[in-house]
Symmetry: C2
Subunit: 328 residues, 2 copies
């Protein structure tokens, strides 16, 4: 069992010795890092055992990955580049060395996949279970951060990749079926180790996205955020929501509607964006050329027209009330 | 009872509308702020109900104050100026509006006392009780951050103010005596609403401090941190530890040793520092001239001489094993 000082010493030993831009790393009152330009992006995300994850099915290294992925994805959703991160780690009991190594291993694996460095944090005791907060600092894109508030009436709504996988993966894990888990590894992986779209975010910022957000609360809720911040309504075409083949197959097998996973699931960390009609196709081409699929979902409307989803049947439903609320 | 969206809307309504330096505030994926210079200080601190506080005796507004004070104090301990903060807020149950108003009121009161602004954060559900993480970003002093690693052999050890008050306040609160609480209001306030020493930190940075740290884990543990990081030993004179008159009176009344509160208590947020012998008196004068008392505690020694405290009796004891460990 490790003491607080031993935990910090171990994290320090595991973190790379040389970090570009970092002047003060783990072990002082605060971290210090150099930035280029004069604007810093800063975000924080927390996850709690029993609320956001359980161990198992999560491996403790997945937990480290996941909390950092949430923070990195917020920076990606502004079109920014993550630079450095802090981890606030709270444990109910003194941990064993192996657990700390696995957890920090997951943190570092996530961060190194996007050239981001762990430079500080905090270790303390929790009231029960494992609790983690990631703080990620980043650099905005050259044209400034892409905000939720930037959409204009008539802008086309688009999305990268396919969505609903994280919720589908959670569904498989909750069913506890090893067979399903073995046959649908991609959706399970999407839940345990979501991959923030840093490169896609930067491309969208440079290719004319007017608003952007990561899909963390489910497509319906995240699209409402863009409507709220931009003072607009929207029309989302349900038939255009990108659902992967394995997701559809799984949904059919377990008797779920795959669209529910996409609309209300969240934690996909794909990028929801808007672009002016004249730039939208160019933005999608820009993404596809760099290996990221993207497609059209609908259009931004005047606020008075509400937030509407057009279903397969042609029926128009209100997007309000669809999606994830932490306290619902 | 408020939903997640209503909590965020309320925090946004309460936070000041114009924040110098902030380009993106509450409501987007990440916050964005302008900095002067190219170096950013960044720190994070978490507190948990049942571990770091209980309500009562804490008022919920004290909890908001306290978590931000911990983060601000880390910036002060580098000689830096806090600029902006994020709050990660986790609640077990949907909160009432009054509780959110009180909590955020405490956060904003603390931050405004040191010209720091709340510009972002995260709201989610906790596994049990209230959990808060403060992230604070700041600007280093003109000569660069004052680190724990900067002490040299022969440097004089000093401290601002008087210490042990927070632990003494906790002792009063644990005894649950309204009488003691009424007669020792200052120590109770020191526990509930500790005051980070931002101005003193900046003065020490400009007046030649070689190393600095805030007293958060207790004087013994915090002095060991400076020894560890500077690769040195130390000799601390127990008779010089600044104990306030009311602290001594309380200790006598409840049969405790006030020195234990100072050495092992923590959360005082006074500044422990070192300075070369030729600059120490000047540094203390610089503090005193600006209204902050400060005094000498001992001297930094070669590592081989260990970390020693000289007691009233002249007995020399090892500082190891004295102080607070979250998992001890």
């Amino acid at each position: 069992m490790l003491s607080e000082a031993e935990i910090i010493a171990l994290i320090r030993e595991m973190a790379p010795g040389y970090v570009p831009g970092a002047e003060v790393q783990i072990g002082d009152d605060a971290a210090a890092f150099h930035i280029t330009g004069d604007l810093v992006l800063l975000t924080t995300d927390s996850i709690y055992e029993g609320v956001h994850f359980n161990i198992p099915p999560f491996h403790i290294s997945d937990v480290g990955w996941k909390v950092m992925a949430a923070g990195v994805s917020d920076i990606a959703a502004m079109g920014g580049e993550p630079n450095c991160a802090l981890l606030s780690l709270a444990l109910h009991e003194p941990p064993g060395e192996g657990d700390v190594r696995s957890l920090i291993g997951g943190v570092l694996e996530m961060l190194s996949s996007c050239n981001c460095s762990l430079i500080g944090g905090d270790v303390c005791r929790s009231a029960g279970g494992l609790a983690l907060t990631a703080t990620v600092a980043g650099t905005p894109p050259p044209g400034g951060p892409v905000l939720r508030s930037g959409a204009k009436k008539g802008d086309v709504i688009g999305i990268t990749g396919s969505i609903g996988e994280s919720a589908a993966g959670l569904h498989v894990l909750k069913l506890g079926s090893d067979d399903l888990r073995a046959r649908y590894p991609r959706v399970v992986e999407a839940h345990l180790r979501p991959k923030p779209k840093v490169k896609a975010g930067a491309l969208l910022a440079s290719c004319g996205a007017s608003a952007m957000e990561d899909v963390s609360d489910g497509l319906a809720a995240d699209l409402r955020h863009i409507c709220d911040e931009s003072g607009l309504g929207c029309e989302l075409d349900a038939r255009l929501v990108p659902l992967a083949d394995d997701l559809r197959a799984l949904a059919a097998e377990v008797g779920e509607d795959p669209l529910d996973w996409a609309l209300a699931g969240g934690e996909d960390y794909e990028l929801l964006f808007t672009a002016p009609p004249g730039s939208f196709d160019e933005a999608v081409k820009c993404l596809v050329d760099h290996g990221t699929p993207a497609c059209r979902l609908g259009v931004m409307r005047p606020a008075a027209e509400g937030r509407v989803m057009v279903k397969d049947s042609g029926e128009r439903v209100d997007l309000e009330g669809v999606g994830y609320d932490h306290f619902a």
